[in-house]
Subunit: 145 residues, 2 copies
Amino acid sequence: MNKFLQIALEEAKKSLKEGGIPIGSVLVIDDKIVGRGHNKRVQDGSAILHAEMDCLENAGRLSASDYKKATLYSTLSPCFMCSGAALLYKIPKVVIGENKTFQGPEEHLRSSGVEVEVLDDKECYSLMQNFIKTNPELWNEDIGE
Amino acid sequence: MNKFLQIALEEAKKSLKEGGIPIGSVLVIDDKIVGRGHNKRVQDGSAILHAEMDCLENAGRLSASDYKKATLYSTLSPCFMCSGAALLYKIPKVVIGENKTFQGPEEHLRSSGVEVEVLDDKECYSLMQNFIKTNPELWNEDIGE
């Protein structure tokens, strides 16, 4: 598995152990992880801390020139909010573990000039599928359904 | 002035007093404020707490049916991230104090079915203009420039 997706997946599993939604994310600049995070809807009672948002928050206040060299990894296809955060900061590349469970506005990212790579990772997929089977209401809440 | 924009403006002024970026937001459901917030880039060292995000976070975990009745007010036109959050939660209406200082993807919101109202408020505008004159670097950081 891609080494950065592996860390994002570790974050997702950490969230699951905490009783949360198993989605993880890392932000990478110059081949180094500068931020990592996971969904905190359950843990923090948060409406905005999707994995990517938590990751960006944990990376701290970066310069525009840093963001322009960054790649955002997520175990699951980013939603409108998280894709919007990538667009706000002009992050040029997004790498996605899987997009079968949920697909965000990937085409909108691409048409805005963002490189989007989908790795179609089976472990990311099965982690979400198993979670949704037992927690459908939490998952629906997380995507505004 | 619109009574809810007035509260959003109070939030913006609170941020300014705290040394922060003067943008405020409220979330309204059934004519009642269910969340309010302001930009916390400076105060919390946050990369994600734009006013609208802080407001949504302070409103807490709401149901999809609540969001579908909500109106999001902001003193300034919402950026990609905050517009994306509105789309994630299918918030049907966004009311904007002003969009001369900065204009987010309002047309994208409209084409996605969101009602967008721009109030062209002079006080919201002058608050931002005065702030940017003395803090251009903070403002640029906030919009990823």
